[in-house]
Structures are given as structure tokens and as C-alpha cells.
Assembly symmetry: C2
Homo-oligomer: 124 residues x 2
């Protein structure tokens, strides 16, 4: 990233790549769903729900719809009774995984120091 590109990252239009990715993945659950699907592979709704645990049914539905709309996951309905719906990463979704892992590793590496900083900050 060069200085000449800064407009791409700080202007408030739809061309700002960072804002776009943040608006899409910065919500409470999107990245987590992508990671779980990436690690576990194809999962059906309730399985996904139990893996994440503390997400509400509503938000899981909303998140999945949004990711599907963006072409990051696929939703496959099997016309059976009881119904079965399977979710899986698309190639585009899978291409995000390395970045998610990198961020997670960064967080794991620096979490301790960040906590220490914050405590010192609070006390001062």
C-alpha cells in the first residue's frame, strides 16, 4: 500500500475497500461463521448453531443470508421431510480464511500485551 493509495482507505465512498470489508465482516458473527465453516466443512443449520453456541437463531439466519447474498457461502436445500439445509464456503469465502487465521493469530500473540496495556491505562 503506497501513500498514493490512501484515498482508497479513508474516503467515505463505496470505493473504500477497507470500509467495504468492515461493513460486511465487521458485524458480530460473519467472521465466526466463515471460520467455523472453513474449519468444520459443510454444516447444516442446527449443527452450525450448536458449534457457535451463543448466537441466536435469528442472527444466525440473518448472517447466513447476508453471506449467501455476497457469494461467500452456498445454501443447499434438500427437499426432504424433515427439511435439511447445508451451508458451505464458496471459493470466494474460502479465500478469506487465510486472512481470518492471520488476524486470529495476531490476536492470540498480542492479546496478553493488550490486556496489560489496558489495565495500566485504566489505573492511570
Amino acid at each position: 500500500m503506497t501513500k498514493e493509495d490512501w484515498k482508497k482507505y479513508s474516503e467515505a465512498d463505496s470505493e473504500c475497500a477497507v470500509r467495504n470489508v468492515l461493513d460486511r465482516l465487521g458485524d458480530k458473527w460473519s467472521m465466526l461463521v466463515i471460520i467455523v465453516l472453513g474449519v468444520e466443512g459443510t454444516l447444516r443449520f442446527n449443527k452450525l448453531h450448536s458449534f457457535i453456541g451463543d448466537i441466536s437463531q435469528k442472527m444466525l439466519t440473518v448472517t447466513l443470508k447476508s453471506l449467501e447474498a455476497d457469494g461467500l457461502i452456498t445454501r443447499t436445500v434438500f427437499p426432504e421431510i424433515p427439511p435439511r439445509v447445508e451451508y458451505a464456503l464458496t471459493e470466494r469465502g474460502a479465500s478469506l480464511l487465510p486472512h481470518m487465521e492471520a488476524l486470529a493469530e495476531w490476536a492470540a500473540t498480542h492479546m496478553e500485551g493488550i490486556y496489560a496495556s489496558r489495565e495500566k491505562y485504566v489505573r492511570s
Copy 2:
């Protein structure tokens, strides 16, 4: 990331690295501030404000305080009149830059496809 590590990424405790990083950087402005400081180098308050443009003064202050508390940026006050305050990335903050750039590049690469997917999705 192995399957054995999934708990790190989907459990709702403070050990979840992904949730931690998202809670800290997933807000509306943190990543943008880090990127601008990374690209432009040390900046004072109003300069930062004008670079980002559409951030409110309040949110810039709040964001800077949070990043400072986490040890991602430094805040240097020069005891002059009128006052001068300079912000710069710490080493820890700078270590985030490559990941931010990677995400931005991912977004730039896939934005067009994502928009196309979403339009098709809306129409169906």
C-alpha cells in the same frame, strides 16, 4: 488452524482470539485510523481528522483513546500554546498493518464479484 483449535474461535469466552480482535478492531473507525497512521506516519489530531474526513470529533477522540489504551498507538502532548498532540503507531500497532493491507486487497479484488452476487440475490 486445525480442527482441534475450533474452540478458540467459536466459544463465547474471553479466550476467543477472533472475537477479541473483532471487538477491538471491528468498530467503525479503528482500522481506518491504524491504516492512515501507518500510511501517513505521525499525525496530529486535526490532520488525522481531515484525512478521514467524515468521522466526528467525538468518535475520533474515542477511537484514539481506545487504541492508545490497547497500546496500538502513542499519544504525545507538546506543552505549547496552542496545544499540539501527535499520534503515531506503536510497534504493536504497526504489526497489524500487513493484515489490514491484506484484507483491503482481498476486498478490492472481490468487491466487484460481491456486488454482482448481491444484485443477483436481490433480484431473485
